[in-house]
């Protein structure tokens, strides 16, 4: 019992500390940019809340007028079951992060508290975070429901369910993570997390494609007719926590106090027992075997891998080649970085793989000409989007705390940026070109159209990736320890927006060129090539501008 209480105490302490850090980094930072960002963020949340309240109000009104036969218990149980999936994923990431990556674990364990209370504190912190996130997302809707139904019980019961429901998932996942950690060598946590993330992403996407009725039909045509909710009979089973939460929530909505509190109490009992047992077990598991010391991997001298990249890269100066090779090594040796190459392929498989034969025959049906050639660039476009964001935007920040190595060297930031452009654009350009060539070979739009389309793809790969490197330089982060925090969210947002603008403008220009050819009776190839030249020129100009701004920003960099 003492461990349990101490666990809750540690959890609340951790939560208070995190809250304080959040406030210090935002409104109390004293930095105008951050304060403005916080105010804008707050305003966006307020607008979203107002919107959510409005939608809920309209929904309640509609439900009162047109009484649809909805099984509220089943629907809410289904909602809680779906939420369990989110809980599993976020808890696993949080738990492994807490155990393997966060540097404060040693600090906490050095405190005069039982190990289980520290681990339980982590669980409590995760539950609090999930609880607050649930309230953040659904709070206004709950208040509107309470007001519209004259039922103040609704937000109270839902809040209790938000607090209790995650407990069993968080505890079970934490225990599983501890078991997992026993077999993960020290220092491999980031790789394991990344692999898990990729597996979950692929799994969810594939399941979605295979099971979601809206996506099951192949081809571009959308399914007509009413959409139905997925039917999972077990969701509201009385032996499942999702069924208990669903019953309690449905009873609260219906104004049945007694039933709502009864099912919430069942959930409370389960949560308390699981938390108590989990706390005890976690301490024992942790002490039973924590692999801290694993001998470092020894590499073979003069291996094939070593030999491949020893030479210079043709046409590149030794300095630029050195940056390209170094970045390639960093990206391919660190799994978290390697995923930046792997994810685009996963996207391609998920988006095009299952429907590829039908899509191909649809595009081939267009016959020879620029339209088919352009549509053939779609996979290359997806790849370019993914690679330019992941490699281009992160190119400068990839240096991290090692940035001093370059900053102390006798080279200008312009040369550094040039190296980064090559290091991001070379793999991007090669892969985009490869995918574009394969697509055009399969589609066969006529070789002049195919050739110009491939050239366009390569030119856009170069210019868009360079554009991203420039944006990445403006929003560079060198203080990250977790690769996920390498890219600044504002940089990602601006990068995505500019990608859409540049590629959208290019597509628009090419479309206009086809229309112009029809109106003026000019040869299509002439207007097409003119549009391509303008499009590529525009892309290069924007990329050059971004590099200039990025260089200016890096020149002002101080590594204090």
């Amino acid at each position: 019992m003492a461990g349990l209480v101490s666990g809750v105490e540690v959890g609340l302490l951790l939560w208070r500390t995190q809250l304080r850090m959040f406030v210090n980094q935002t409104v109390r930072s004293g930095k105008p940019g951050r304060i403005v960002g916080s105010v804008i963020g707050g305003a966006i949340i307020l607008v979203a809340w107002a919107w959510e309240a409005l939608i809920t109000g309209v929904g309640v009104e509609a439900a009162h007028r047109f009484r649809a036969p909805v099984d509220a218990t089943h629907l809410l149980s289904l909602g809680f079951l779906g939420y369990t999936g989110v809980l599993v994923f976020s808890s696993l990431v949080f738990s492994l992060n807490a155990l393997l990556l966060n540097p404060d674990l040693d600090l906490l364990l050095a405190a005069p508290r039982p190990v289980e209370s520290i681990l339980a504190g982590r669980m409590v912190l995760q539950v609090i975070r999930l609880f607050l996130l649930s309230l953040l997302f659904t709070g206004p809707a709950l208040l509107v429901l309470a007001y519209a139904n004259h039922n103040p019980l609704i937000p109270i019961v839902f809040s209790a369910l938000y607090l209790l429901y995650p407990v069993f998932v968080v505890v079970i996942i934490s225990l599983m993570s501890l078991l997992l950690v026993r077999i993960i060598p020290s220092g491999r946590g980031r790789e394991i997390l990344t692999l898990f993330g990729v597996a979950v992403a692929v799994g969810i996407n594939l399941l979605n494609f295979l099971l979601n009725p809206a996506l099951r039909d192949a081809g571009i045509a959308r399914r007509s007719g009413p959409l139905s909710l997925p039917d999972i009979p077990g969701a509201s089973a009385p032996w499942l926590p999702s069924g208990w939460a669903g019953r309690s929530a449905a009873a609260a909505l219906g104004g049945d106090w007694l039933t709502a509190i009864s099912w919430a109490l069942v959930l409370l009992a389960l949560s308390t027992v699981i938390f108590a047992v989990g706390t005890r077990l976690s301490g024992r598991l942790y002490l039973a075997g924590w692999i801290q010391a694993v001998p470092p991997r020894r590499r073979k001298v003069g291996s094939f891998r070593d030999g491949r990249l020893r030479g210079a890269i043709p046409l590149l100066s030794p300095l630029l080649a050195s940056i390209v090779i170094k970045d390639w090594r960093m990206r391919t040796r660190d799994l978290a970085q390697l995923v930046r190459f792997a994810m685009p392929v996963v996207f391609l498989v998920v988006i095009f793989g299952l429907r590829f034969p039908r899509l191909l025959s649809s595009v081939q049906g267009l016959g020879e000409g620029p339209a088919a050639a352009m549509l053939g660039l779609a996979p290359a476009w997806v790849l370019l989007f993914s690679l330019s964001i992941s490699l281009g935007l992160s190119a400068v920040s990839l240096e991290g705390k090692s940035m001093w190595v370059y900053a102390a060297s006798p080279n200008t930031t312009r040369r550094f940026l040039q190296g980064k452009c090559w290091s991001a654009a070379l793999p991007t350009g090669l892969l985009v070109a490869l995918v574009a060539v394969v697509s055009e070979i399969l589609i066969r739009p006529g070789w002049p159209w195919a050739a110009t389309a491939v050239l366009l793809a390569i030119a856009q790969a170069g210019s868009v990736t360079t554009l991203m490197v420039g944006i990445g330089a403006v929003f560079a982060r060198f203080d990250w320890t977790d690769a996920r925090r390498m890219m600044h969210p504002a940089g990602v947002f601006i990068g995505m927006a500019l990608f859409a603008v540049v590629t959208g403008a290019s597509a628009l220009l090419l479309g206009i060129s086809l229309a112009l050819a029809g109106i003026t009776h000019f040869p299509v190839m002439t207007t097409w090539l003119a549009a391509m030249t303008v499009s590529v020129g525009g892309g290069v100009a924007v990329a050059a501008l971004s590099l200039l701004i990025g260089n200016d920003h890096l020149r002002g960099l101080e590594l204090g």
């Binding site: 220092g187 470092p296 991997r297 020894r298 590499r299 073979k300 001298v301 003069g302 070593d306 030794p318 300095l319 080649a321 050195s322 090779i325 170094k326 090594r329 960093m330 040796r333 660190d334 991290g400 705390k401 090692s402 001093w404 190595v405 370059y406 900053a407 102390a408 060297s409 006798p410 080279n411 200008t412 101080e558 590594l559 204090g560």
Partner: protein
């Protein structure tokens, strides 16, 4: 070889370094001492071009570091206090990269890498990733990288942290050899014993201001007590005398 004139660095209202005047000649092994937060690292970072001074001037190897940073950096070797290296590169690969950054001709670079790895006893682990290196080994790799392009001035920020006694001794020998070639070493340390034994001249900085500079003998004259150890001189000049420390400890106990 190295000079600063009224070198100042301010962070808002905080003055990290103020009106620093230094003069270090060729062949000197110059120790830069000061308590925690005195401004040692900030000074070194300004001298190697990682930070821009708020005011004042600094010349390294006869070149203005602010006006011609690239030219000056080509003559500088720098070892930071916590050398953040690329974990997924081997020591050999990191040194290759470093050589390319400093425009060292590839054949000369490879020859020097072999020599330096041997010199620092890193040859058997030269192809292992740096992520598996201890702090001391990383420090050695960092020093090897700083020496690779044959700099004229070597800046070291707490170079002996993390080194075992044998390695610390080895580093001392390497630095002394370096100075005998007419080159300059400028290093900060907390370990006064090392500074006392190694340095030809010393400077002591406190609260961002230079409080003393000269040979050990000159510093002794300055505090007016011959025969004092560097530790006693340091405590005297930085105002953290033994009695004060004892008084604070007594306060904690009561």
């Amino acid at each position: 070889m190295l000079s600063t004139r009224l070198l100042t660095k301010r962070y808002g209202s905080l003055t990290a370094v103020e009106d620093l005047d230094l003069e270090v000649s060729a062949g000197e092994l110059f120790g830069f001492l000061g308590p925690n937060g005195a401004g040692k690292t900030t000074t070194i970072k300004m001298l190697v071009g990682l930070l821009r001074p708020t005011s004042g001037a600094a010349r390294v190897a006869g070149i203005d570091i602010m006006a011609e940073p690239e030219k000056a950096k080509a003559r500088i070797g720098y070892v930071p206090d916590a050398a953040m290296l690329y974990d997924k590169l081997s020591a050999r690969e990191f040194l290759e990269f470093s050589g390319d950054l400093y425009h060292v001709e590839p054949r000369l670079r490879d020859r020097r890498i072999g020599t330096l790895l041997k010199l620092f006893g890193l040859e058997p682990r030269g192809n292992d990733f740096l992520s598996g290196y201890s702090r001391g080994m990383r420090q050695k790799v960092s020093l090897a990288a700083a020496l690779l392009h044959d700099p004229q001035v070597l800046f070291l920020d707490e170079p002996t942290v993390g080194l075992d006694p044998q390695s610390a001794r080895q580093m001392k020998d390497i630095l002394q050899d370096f100075c005998q070639e007419g080159k300059t070493v400028f290093f900060s340390t907390h370990i006064l014993e090392i500074a006392e034994r190694m340095c030809t001249r010393l400077a002591i900085i406190n609260h961002g201001r230079l409080v003393a500079m000269g040979s050990l003998q000159e510093l002794r004259h300055m505090v007016g007590q011959d025969g004092q150890s560097l530790e006693q001189i340091f405590l005297e000049l930085t105002g953290s005398r033994e009695e004060d420390v004892r008084a604070i400890l007594r306060g904690l106990e009561s």
